[in-house]
């Protein structure tokens, strides 16, 4: 971390002692400890105090606080869809240009990250309200290399190869996929990730963006096709561990465990970068990268769409303005604020000035590189859609789909939910 001192010295010149910042977010336990390390450097340098409140119920609590006129200074949103709604209601403070400039200059594919945080304010003017911080990578397929080796399977480089491999595993008497969609009130999100990944691989990014904003209706043939492609993998009892209709009742955190059984219940599991936390203990830590590894969820060779990457992440917003809060936002765009958490766990960043050496493991570094090299980056669509869709109709639609409704019907129902909120 050679640039550590450089990027801090700017903040050491400021004296914010006596100022307190309230920061609410969804990170708890291990993540909270990492964030506090990041904030500790800021407190040390400036003398300001940051009071972080982490909760699993952050999204509900912060709305209660907001309605009661007691908003925190900063809030970290895992679903940017809400940020757009709050910006339009005038509940958010536009970030300073220095934050936007830093994102444009320092984030790889900076424009797309700036766009992600830019929304129309109460008077219709577009401002940057959200700073992407702590992102995750979704286009990953997890597998046990030795199982592949034993069976003589190669890592598929294209979607065509992945489909061929899926069939071959079935022919060899195995089960290719483990999929689990149960996640309490959020049941179904695993399915939405699949569909978004497929959408990015079958349509250009511009179509994806229009699909997210509903300029293209949800039941457009291109969207229905994405659902059906997911169905090709998920709705075939030979392709998934368990049966297609049981997917909605398998806890998403338990579903990868089939990879590690003897005999293996499945060979592949498509899930985001955070999933190793749910692996059996023997497959956590150093074992990730050797005993269990991942490959990029491949793109179609036949479609000339490059190698798109799907990801999610948290948007930092300012709900209550103060001098120290603006400085903290600046600090969070500096490389050091990323490097400190990179040295911990569960953190990826598109910040190109942050030193890749800071990542605590090769696996994280490999994932970080995928981010930096991504030409087409699609942010999780369900997280960007309004809550009623992205955290409602889309999720339940996936459950309905695995329970036997047709793709057409599901898409039409989700479009009806869109129409209802317009």
């Amino acid at each position: 971390m050679g640039g550590l001192q450089d990027s801090l010295s700017k903040f050491e010149a400021m004296d914010l002692s006596g100022q307190e910042i309230r920061f609410d977010g969804p990170w708890i336990s291990g993540d909270e400890a990492n964030l506090k390390n990041v904030l500790a450097y800021f407190e040390e340098a400036t003398g300001a105090k940051v009071q972080y409140n982490g909760s699993n119920d952050f999204e509900q609590l912060v709305l209660v606080d907001m309605k009661a006129g007691n908003s925190p200074n900063l809030a970290a949103w895992p679903q940017p869809g809400t940020v757009g709604e709050l910006a339009a209601q005038g509940e958010l403070v536009a970030l300073k240009d220095s934050v936007k400039d830093a994102v444009l200059a320092d984030y790889s594919a900076g424009q797309s990250w700036a766009d992600l945080g830019t929304y129309a304010g109460p008077n219709g003017d577009a401002n940057m309200y959200g700073l992407a911080y702590n992102v995750n990578l979704k286009s990953l397929v997890w597998y046990v290399p030795e199982n592949f080796e034993e069976a003589g399977y190669e890592i598929p480089q294209t979607m065509e190869e992945l489909i061929a491999l899926t069939d071959q595993i079935v022919d060899d008497g195995g089960t290719p996929w483990c999929i689990g969609m149960e996640s309490g009130g959020a049941t179904g999100w695993v399915g939405t990730d699949w569909i978004e990944d497929i959408m990015l691989r079958t349509q250009p990014k511009s179509v994806y963006d229009q699909w997210v904003s509903n300029e293209i209706p949800f039941n457009d043939p291109r969207g229905v096709n994405a659902i059906e492609t997911f169905g090709f993998f998920a709705l075939n009892d030979d392709y998934v561990d368990g049966s297609a209709s049981s997917l909605a009742s398998i806890f998403f955190g338990d579903s990868p465990k089939g990879l590690f059984e003897s005999p293996a219940k499945c060979y592949m599991h498509r899930q985001a970068s955070f999933i190793p936390a749910f692996f059996p203990e023997a497959y956590q830590g150093d074992a990730v990268g050797t005993d269990v590894d991942f490959f990029y969820f491949p793109a179609y060779e036949g479609k000339d769409l490059g190698k798109p990457v799907l990801g999610g992440g948290t948007l930092l917003t300012m709900m209550n303005e103060s001098e120290a809060s603006h400085v903290l936002m600046d600090y969070l765009t500096s490389p050091i604020a990323h490097e400190i958490w990179m040295a911990g766990e569960g953190f990826l960043t598109p910040h190109s000035k942050a030193n890749l050496e800071a990542y605590s493991s090769d696996v994280l570094r490999k994932q970080g590189e995928i981010f930096l090299n991504a030409t087409t980056f699609g942010f999780d669509a369900s997280d960007m859609m309004p809550g009623a869709i992205g955290a409602g109709a889309f999720w339940t639609g996936m459950v309905d789909y695995t329970n036997g409704k047709s793709a057409e019907q599901v898409a039409t129902e989700i479009q009806a939910a869109w129409d209802a909120i317009k």
């Binding site: 699993n56 009661a68 069976a151 003897s262 936390a277």
Partner: protein
């Protein structure tokens, strides 16, 4: 008139019913207890009811690394003993591939890819032979085998909660919330209940009906307006909207209607003569209250204290809304939830955490329970 012949039957039926209820209530608790002493991976694999008996486990271990191979007449050989077997377990079957982890009986030899052979005996002594070429790579090869794993339990979950769960501070925070939030409403309700039962004043019954009416106000609907009030007053007077005082007042407000109702009914049932005599002898209301009514109302006070204590102790919602989530204010219930991790990956610690947090409520309940039924029934049955 009771018929002696029927009595034993009725008693047996009553006892059987009671027993069934007790079992119904105990089974989930038992399941939680057993889960709390199971290993994380076992928890994810099977239900707690399977934990009490031995189970067949199929796992793998790696051979010694290839740089320890020796060259013999048979070819290149890696040998040694499985760690599991070295700790006393017997191998029941083995295999060299994850697809056929149980193909060989102990002592037999199985042939794998590239002509290599593996044999493992019941004591776990393995011999991996490659007749044609030396083993390569830096890691040992996987050997799959099955063994009978007896029921096993661990205290790791408790250790984790106690060392990393930061429950200590949360415990103190919860006590800081619970004790005043129990004492204040009990005190206020006792005064109010006395007034409602023994101090005649105009509109007393209407006022009492109003208090009873408040019982039906759902707590959830008042959270935002109340916090808004705190926040407005806090802004005007310069204090934080979220804090212990706010949570005490909230719990007091939410608990008072039921408290007044219960205690008023109890106090009303005290002998009228007793209180009138005292009044005639010149005792003031305050005297009557402290010297006569309060000592006689201990069962009602105790039963409401249990109610309120347990409710506040177990409360998550009110504390989430009216307190911050940082270390100095987070309550046990919220801290327990936080143990789950941001994405809910650590749920095994919830079971042990739950057992640790119910200790104090159990102590309170058992020390006050003899008053409980008396206090609840008193006043309602004449």
């Amino acid at each position: 008139m009771s018929k002696p012949a029927e009595r034993p039957l009725a008693r047996i039926a009553a006892s059987a019913g009671l027993l069934a209820l007790v079992i119904l209530w105990i089974v989930p608790t038992l399941g939680l207890l057993i889960s709390s002493v199971r290993d994380k991976d076992a928890l994810a694999e099977s239900g707690w009811w399977t934990a009490l008996s031995a189970s067949e486990q199929t796992v793998f271990e790696r051979t010694a690394s290839p740089d320890q191979q020796i060259e013999t007449a048979d070819g290149w050989v890696i040998q040694g003993q499985l760690e599991i077997a070295a700790t006393g377990y017997t191998i029941t079957a083995f295999g060299g591939s994850q697809r056929t982890p149980n193909e060989g009986a102990p002592g037999s030899t199985v042939t794998l890819r590239n002509g290599t052979t593996l044999s493992i005996d019941a004591q776990g002594n393995y011999r991996f032979v490659s007749p044609d070429e030396p083993f390569t790579g830096s890691r040992g090869k996987r050997m799959f085998f099955s063994y009978e794993k007896p029921a096993s339990f661990t205290l790791d979950n408790y250790k984790e909660v106690l060392t990393e769960g930061r429950l200590g501070q949360a415990f103190i925070n919860t006590l800081t919330v619970t004790i005043p939030a129990t004492v204040i409403p009990v005190l206020m309700a006792a005064f109010a209940a006395y007034a409602f039962s023994w101090m005649p004043f105009k509109g007393r019954n209407w006022l009492f009906a109003g208090v009873i009416g408040l019982l039906v106000v759902p707590l959830q609907t008042s959270l935002v307006p109340l916090l808004r009030l705190y926040s407005d007053v806090g802004n005007a007077l310069g204090f934080e909207a979220k804090g212990y005082a706010g949570v005490w007042m909230a719990h007091t407000g939410f608990g008072l209607p039921l408290a007044i109702y219960l205690m008023r009914n109890y106090m009303k049932s005290l002998p009228k003569d007793l209180i009138e005599c005292a009044r005639v002898d010149g005792a003031s209301h305050f005297h009557v209250f402290t010297k006569i009514v309060l000592p006689l109302s201990v069962p009602a006070l105790a039963s409401f204290t249990i109610f309120q204590f347990l409710w506040v102790w177990n409360d998550l919602l009110v504390a989430l809304v009216f307190l911050g989530q940082a270390e100095d204010q987070i309550v046990l219930t919220a801290q327990l939830r936080a143990l789950l991790g941001t994405r809910g990956s650590n749920w095994e610690v919830l079971t042990s955490g739950a057992f640790i947090t119910i200790i104090l409520p159990l102590v309170v309940f058992f020390s006050l329970q003899r008053f409980f039924v008396r206090g609840l029934v008193a006043g309602s049955v004449k």
